[in-house]
């Protein structure tokens, strides 16, 4: 047991953080800066981070769930408006099902309309993607990516998918579980990054903003809001790291259970932390120009991909043998 980043993992974390800090949006107005976004995309493309789950020799991925989570967390912390979740999950789906390697076209994944499972309705994290890998009738299919949809997450657009589907491979239960475990672990890392970013933003604001002749960060009520947010982010980080490790280290169903535990925790925590960020920013926090809501919106997408509290509590309980009593859940899968 050694729950610390290796020197290589630390180096990876630093290099992602550098890219996100250098090329991510520093203000809401910069979200529209296409030139910056192109540079960010180029930097990420060059890094090879999107190919971490393509198969190396023997079919294992180039890097474990931990490395992928490191990238996801740091990109989210910096609100990096660049494709990563989608391409990574598409690569994993090909790898797990033995589907042939993608041609040069950028890929993402297609999910159901509520994003709670693989499907063929919405392509997520679709910036630059031409193809979305989804599922129909138990088979992995390739769909064309259509027009962008009105965004929920201002940093990662969703898109329509075309009606025609090319069948690539069958998806068995183990592959589906393993894939879902990675998807959940990745979204947890995304939520952790968003929480850390939102707390940093809010702490900085609380140190600067003055009312009643003093920095608002000197009021105990504000301090305690931020302290709780920091604690939630730290607890989330611990449970999300475990889920990221479990993706490759545990049997598929156990990996999925670990991921569900993490997702329930992180989703609830992220909602609270996001709301704290808005609250600490006061009136400003309720305006479009404040980055607080950009973190909140990014967390909304990450929460909805494979579901938040409700579906994942159901998964956890089912894993412990407490049956689905809601009529809506689907057990562990």
């Amino acid at each position: 047991m050694h729950v610390r980043f290796s020197p290589e993992q630390d180096a990876l974390r630093r290099s992602v953080a550098q890219v996100a800090d250098r090329l991510g949006p520093q203000a809401v107005g910069q979200l529209d800066d296409g030139e910056r976004r192109a540079k960010l995309d180029a930097a990420v493309a060059e890094s090879g981070w999107r190919e971490l789950r393509t198969p190396a020799e023997g079919g294992a991925p180039w890097a474990s769930g931990v490395e992928v989570a490191i990238v996801a967390e740091e990109l989210a912390r910096g609100l990096a408006d660049v494709a990563f979740l989608g391409p990574t999950l598409a690569a994993e789906l090909r790898r797990l099902t033995g589907a042939p390697a993608a041609d040069d076209a950028a890929e993402t994944v297609a999910l159901t309309g509520d994003l709670a499972a693989l499907g063929s309705t919405v392509a997520v994290d679709a910036a630059g993607a031409a193809v979305a890998l989804g599922v129909r009738d138990g088979h992995v299919v390739a769909l064309s990516v259509g027009a962008e949809l009105p965004p929920v997450d201002l940093t990662r657009p969703s898109a329509e998918v075309g009606p025609d589907a090319a069948t690539l491979a069958a998806l068995d239960d183990d592959a589906a579980d393993r894939w879902a475990a990675l998807a959940l672990a990745l979204t947890c890392a995304d939520l952790v990054g968003a929480m850390r970013g939102a707390v940093e933003l809010s702490v900085d604001y609380a140190k600067e903003r003055r009312q009643y002749g003093t920095a608002i960060g000197s009021f105990q009520a504000v301090q305690h809001l931020l302290a709780d947010a920091h604690v939630l982010a730290e607890g989330s980080r611990s449970v999300a790291l475990h889920a990221a490790w479990a993706v490759d280290a545990l049997a598929p169903r156990d990996a999925l259970a670990a991921a569900a535990v993490a997702k329930a925790y992180c989703a609830r925590a992220a909602r609270t932390v996001g709301e704290t960020a808005i609250q600490v920013h006061g009136g400003i926090g309720n305006t479009w120009e404040c980055l607080a809501h950009v973190f909140v919106r990014r967390a909304l997408l990450a929460t909805d991909v494979l579901g938040g509290e409700g579906p994942n509590l159901t998964r956890v309980l089912a894993h412990h043998g407490v049956g689905d009593q809601t009529g809506a859940g689907d057990g562990l899968r």
Binding site: Q211, Q279, A328
Partner: protein, 376 residues
């Protein structure tokens, strides 16, 4: 102790319910769309013209002189019909009623009440939010006029407004609360620039920033005497904290009703967590309804509330945010672009309730010190 209608109340309820059948404008419950605000203005005038607006305000200004509990009855019927809430302007009306001379009241209140004149409120500034007394906008005497210079934010409907109730410093020599005066300033003049403020749910028509750069206002438009701005502001702010004044119970009940309908339409699509969120939205909304009835009834006996407004504000905030959580949980974020994203906007909008009219932190300070008597 009677939550039920008196015969007169029952008659009013029936009359309003009948009118609503043909006059429900079908607006959403809160600003999730920029068209909403134009609709609100028409709805205000429609209610007024039919005799259903300003129920508890004096007849001289266009009101009906009825007990405040009639507002609660109106709100119940609005919610039951799925109609939008009444425009909540009571904070401005009470501010002017309680602090202005008869000339000001006669000139301004009828147009404010009947909805023909649109008003906005120029209180907050970029560096004076919770700490309103630190405001820096100044009004300098120039003959029969004052000249106003400063920067206001959170001025609701400032783009459509004909008038702005402006707080400005008229005396720099006295302690900060004491040198503030209030004015009714015409918005249609060269010294005023209005910029929309885009909220986190994308709405741009509700709030604006207003920059006063040499705007002019007749001295006769001062509300009260020089230095009376602070007590007026306290009156306005305390009414802004009262859900009974704002008619928000109807907002929350309408939302809870729509969420209930969504779940009933497809019950197997919702999990235990979503159903639970709906349950709490219903329970808290009902709680707030009864709480408002209790507060409005106190007024029948001449009891007005001071710091208890902070209790009401927190209950209102918690209710709105519980409804907001249910909206997010049940309606969710629309990722398909198929439906509309009203529920996400309702959720995002709900976050402002713990800031506007004084943050929840400020309300708790007031309760602790002024109700519970805890030491500073």
């Amino acid at each position: 102790m009677d939550f039920g209608d008196s015969p007169a109340e029952a008659e009013f309820r029936q009359r309003f319910r009948a009118w609503l059948v043909d006059n429900n404008p079908g607006l959403p419950a809160s600003s999730t769309d920029d068209d909403y605000w134009a609709g609100q203005a028409a709805w205000h005038q429609s209610l007024y013209d039919a005799g259903f607006f300003g129920l508890s305000w004096p007849t001289e200004v266009g009101g009906h002189g009825l007990p405040s509990v009639y507002d609660a009855i109106l709100d119940e019927e609005l919610a039951a019909a799925g109609a939008p809430p009444r425009p909540g302007l009571g904070y401005l009306v009470h501010g002017i009623l309680e602090h202005a001379n008869d000339d000001i009241k006669a000139r301004f209140l009828p147009g404010l009440v009947n909805g023909r004149d649109r008003w906005c409120q120029g209180f907050s500034e970029p560096d004076a939010g919770s700490d309103l007394a630190s405001l820096r906008t100044r009004a300098e005497r120039d003959g029969d006029e004052y000249v106003i210079t400063g920067h206001k934010v959170w001025t609701s409907y400032s783009d459509d407004a004909d008038w702005c109730l402006v707080l400005a410093r008229t005396d720099h020599e006295v302690p900060r609360h004491k040198g503030i005066s209030a004015f009714a300033v015409a918005m249609d003049q060269p010294g005023i620039e209005q910029r929309p403020l885009k909220m986190i749910n994308g709405i741009t028509k509700e709030f604006g920033e207003v920059v006063f750069d040499g705007a002019r206002v007749p001295a006769a438009n001062m509300i009260g005497e020089p230095g009376d701005g602070w007590p007026l502001a306290m009156t306005v702010v305390s009414h802004e904290r009262e859900p009974g004044e704002l008619g928000y119970v109807a907002r929350y009940r309408k939302l809870a009703k729509e969420l209930t309908a969504a779940v009933k339409a497809d019950p197997t699509a919702y999990d235990a967590e979503q159903v639970r969120q709906l349950g709490w939205a219903i329970v808290e909304t009902e709680m707030l309804r009864h709480h408002v009835s209790r507060r409005l009834s106190d007024r029948l006996d001449g009891i007005t509330h001071g710091p208890e407004g902070s209790v009401d504000k927190l209950l209102m905030t918690w209710t709105e945010q519980t409804v907001g959580h249910a909206a997010l949980g049940i309606g969710g974020a629309d990722h398909t672009g198929d439906g509309d994203d009203t529920w996400l906007k309702v959720y995002l909008y709900s976050r402002a309730q713990s800031v506007m009219g004084g943050t929840s932190q400020i309300q708790r300070n007031l309760i602790a010190r002024r109700i519970l008597g805890l030491p500073a």
